[in-house]
């Protein structure tokens, strides 16, 4: 017994100071962080929470992946889910803050995807992997932004559904033009045609880079979950900063009342252009990720046409207009949903459509919202109940 007590005392002697210093330093570090967090305004707090959740999910998924607990399906979906989330965040900036409905964001995704894939494919043997991917990413984003800018100049003169249809038109034009592009490379250099493969007149050793509707085959597969998550987090920070910057506030003022904004002397066109271009650039990043995750890239109605534009709009509306983290969640859920319904075979898409209608009614119908409030089925009530329990 005595020995034990002695041991206890001696350990206390050793550990005690260590523990004290640790807790002291911990306090020194944590308290300011906590205080800093408390001082932040609400939106910033929300951003930090979202980023933390994404990081936590990333950590969980990575651990599951390395321990072999993640199904191949989930592994395969990680990058596409992030790509769609990015495009949804981009579109949300346009719909939620600029207040303009765009039905052509898949077009910007398409531009980003094809530009970057073309670059990667052309310089596959010339530039080493890492710098090449970085250049491809920057290039894809920049060209998507450029397209966004060029398209925004005429488009933003319109409003409402007319603007929507013009963005849809641009998206379709982009898809259509890419489908008739033939680009090849041989010893003599690059060849280009808008008719067919034969008119390229290439040497026999030539390599097709873009083969019309067959698109780009053999893009190096470089998008990883880590890169995708980092880009998504970066996009959330950028959009958050933008929305809460001077420009962002001006954009919102224009959304709420353009005439008033003009009267105050805001350069309306400039601010709108900036917002739209940024929105297109983020969609382009999504495209780069998408392109470098799949061996064969083609532009069809379902992956880069109006169907995809509409799908992304669904993410935005379901996730909450103006709510970036909501867009991410909706993109994740709605991409996963049809995959998880695979067990239903041919009934899959039918059930999916019913769930979609149901979710929309549940979340938006005024009558149902009232009913939910009355029966304590909305978020505040649910969170409230948890909080009470904690106190007790």
């Amino acid at each position: 017994m005595k020995i034990l007590e002695k041991l206890k005392k001696s350990t206390q002697k050793i550990i005690g100071p260590v523990a004290d210093t640790v807790s002291k330093y911990a306090k020194k570090v944590i308290t300011p962080v906590v205080n800093l967090y408390k001082k932040l305004n609400k939106p910033t707090k929300k951003l930090i929470r979202t980023e933390t959740v994404i990081l936590a999910l990333f950590a969980v998924v990575s651990v599951m992946e390395s321990s072999g607990n993640l199904t191949s399906l989930m592994k395969g979906l990680l990058v596409p889910v992030c790509a769609y989330s990015l495009v949804a965040v981009g579109l949300n900036l346009c719909v939620g803050y600029l207040g303009e409905l765009s039905l052509g964001h898949a077009g910007f995704m398409c531009v980003g995807a094809f530009t970057s894939a073309l670059f990667s494919r052309t310089f596959q043997d010339v530039i080493p992997d890492v710098p090449r991917f970085i250049i491809a990413l920057v290039l894809g984003t920049a060209v998507a932004a450029l397209f966004g800018f060029l398209i925004a100049i005429p488009v933003l003169r319109l409003s409402g559904d007319y603007l929507a249809i013009v963005t849809l038109a641009f998206g379709e034009i982009i898809k259509n033009v890419i489908n008739v592009l033939y680009v090849g490379k041989d010893s003599k250099g690059l060849h280009f045609s808008m008719k067919d493969q034969m008119s390229l007149n290439m040497d026999l050793d030539g390599m097709m880079l873009i083969n019309g509707p067959q698109g780009i085959t053999g893009t190096p597969r470089q998008s990883t979950f880590l890169i995708a998550v980092l880009l998504l987090m970066l996009a959330l920070i950028v959009t958050h900063n933008f929305v809460h910057s001077r420009t962002g506030r001006a954009v919102m003022a224009i959304r709420d009342n353009q005439i008033a904004a003009e009267t105050v002397g805001l350069p309306v066109t400039k601010y709108k252009l900036v917002a739209f271009t940024l929105s297109a650039a983020i969609a382009g990043v999504g495209g780069v990720l998408y392109a470098h995750n799949i061996n064969s890239l083609t532009a069809t109605t379902n992956n880069f046409g109006y169907n995809m534009s509409i799908m992304i709009l669904v993410y935005v509306v379901l996730g909450g207009i103006g709510n970036f983290s909501g867009s991410v969640i909706a993109a994740v859920v709605l991409t996963m949903l049809p995959e998880l319904l695979r067990g239903l075979s041919t009934y899959r898409m039918l059930i999916y459509s019913i769930v979609l209608i149901g979710l929309m009614l549940f979340n938006w119908a005024p009558g149902i919202l009232k009913w939910r409030e009355a029966h304590g089925l909305n978020a505040t009530a649910i969170i409230g109940r948890f909080k009470k329990k904690e106190v007790q």
């Binding site: 191949s72 395969g76 061996n295 067990g343 041919t346």
Partner: protein, 393 residues
């Protein structure tokens, strides 16, 4: 408040979906045998069973199911039953890769898919990396097999068809002025067109008009037909599927334009389109390895079994898919493998084995494969006479 409610509901949905996803990754859509515990061959299939290309995928799914049931009834392959799982890809690359991953989670050992070429290119890259054997019934683009030693085709490839068509037209002097209508947004259609055009030039055929259409405007062909007519084309080469084919024939008839029509293997199925006036198809040439009204025993048995079980007449896609299972069976039996072998062992054995196979099936006699994965069978031209295929030779 509303937004919060929304994100809460959604996060809840996401969490459940994640968990469901982890636990339930192996749920199959058309599993034929419950395999709990019992060792079986696990063969997967991928193709569109919803979306615009659904009719091709459903034919393949049904035909494989039919073949699998027959093989199982007859004792399986090397004494082991086959379990079969078919996944939908809506003919989209990304969804096809998702379908492939789903099948991998299910424990697939051999893939019989994909149905379409675009999806096939994306999935072939995956199977190549995973060393999974892939036999596609109908993805005919050379890009599907190029650079992938593990991918084999049951159907003949696009360049093959384009060249054979041009040769046939030139050698039999069907026409000198040729008009082409093709789907510029479809890899299959534009692939066949390109090789056709190259070969036609070499053979001295004069292509007087080459008109495209796209997936977004594939119901109105009056303009393309009018241009071919104005250019004086006396033969139309139509490398696309029978759905559009039936419209082209109807509209040409309405215009009173009657050139020789020459389709490729996509035209097979034309006569089975419900309510289609077969008179319009009279005299149409097409390439096909399979005819549903053929009189040999095997075809008759397959067609009647298919009609009885699923309704509707099987097309060439279905026949290729049906053959696919028997081709796999022959190669697996020759290699004397059991399902205990790893995917890689099966893949290597099948790569070597398929090059030794000499198979007589619905879609050809004495089919053999080269090391690139191409099948030897030659596309054969038939002409439609009295509502049935007639050999032209």
């Amino acid at each position: 408040m509303k937004k919060k409610a929304l994100s809460l509901v959604l996060s809840a949905a996401m969490m459940t979906s994640l968990f469901v996803g982890c636990g339930n990754g192996s749920a199959g859509s058309s599993e034929s045998v419950d395999t709990s515990g019992e060792l079986t061959w696990r063969i997967g299939g991928i193709g569109p069973i919803t979306g615009g290309a659904a009719q091709y995928g459903q034919g393949v799914m049904n035909a494989i199911q039919l073949a699998v049931d027959e093989v199982n009834e007859a004792g399986g392959i090397n004494g082991y039953q086959i379990s079969f799982n078919f996944q939908d890809d809506e003919a989209d690359q990304q969804k096809s890769v998702n379908a492939y991953n789903t099948l991998k989670d299910w424990g697939m050992q051999i893939l019989e898919g994909t149905v379409t070429s675009g999806a096939g290119q994306a999935v072939a890259a995956e199977t190549y990396a995973d060393r999974m054997f892939m036999l596609t019934p109908s993805a005919s683009s050379p890009d599907v097999i190029n650079g992938h030693d593990n991918v084999y085709q049951v159907c003949f490839s696009d360049p093959n068809q384009g060249a054979v068509s041009a040769d046939y037209i030139a050698d039999n002097k069907l026409a000198t002025k040729v008009g082409v209508i093709y789907d510029s947004s479809d890899p299959y259609s534009s692939g066949v067109y390109q090789t056709f055009a190259t070969e036609a030039k070499a053979k001295g055929l004069d292509i007087v008009a080459s008109e495209a259409f796209t997936a977004d405007s594939k119901t109105d062909f009056t303009t393309q037909l009018q241009k071919c007519k104005d250019a004086g084309a006396d033969l139309l080469f139509l490398p696309f599927y029978y759905t559009e084919g039936s419209i082209v024939l109807t509209q040409a008839n309405q215009m009173g334009y009657k050139p020789t029509m020459f389709g490729v293997d996509g035209f097979d199925g034309l006569l089975t389109v419900e309510n289609f006036d077969a008179k319009l198809a009279e005299g149409v040439y097409l390439l096909t390895p399979f005819a549903a009204d053929s009189q040999d025993e095997a075809t008759k048995k397959f067609v009647s079994a298919y009609e009885e079980k699923f309704g509707g007449t099987p097309n060439q896609f279905a026949a290729d898919a049906y053959d696919g299972i028997y081709i796999l069976k022959e190669a697996l039996e020759a290699a004397n493998l059991t399902p205990e072998a790893s995917n890689e062992e099966i893949c290597d054995a099948l790569i070597a084995g398929l090059q030794k196979v000499n198979y007589n099936g619905l879609t050809g006699e004495g089919m053999t494969w080269n090391e690139k994965g191409e099948v030897s069978k030659a596309p054969k031209a038939v002409v439609i006479k009295d509502g049935a295929y007639a050999s032209v030779d």
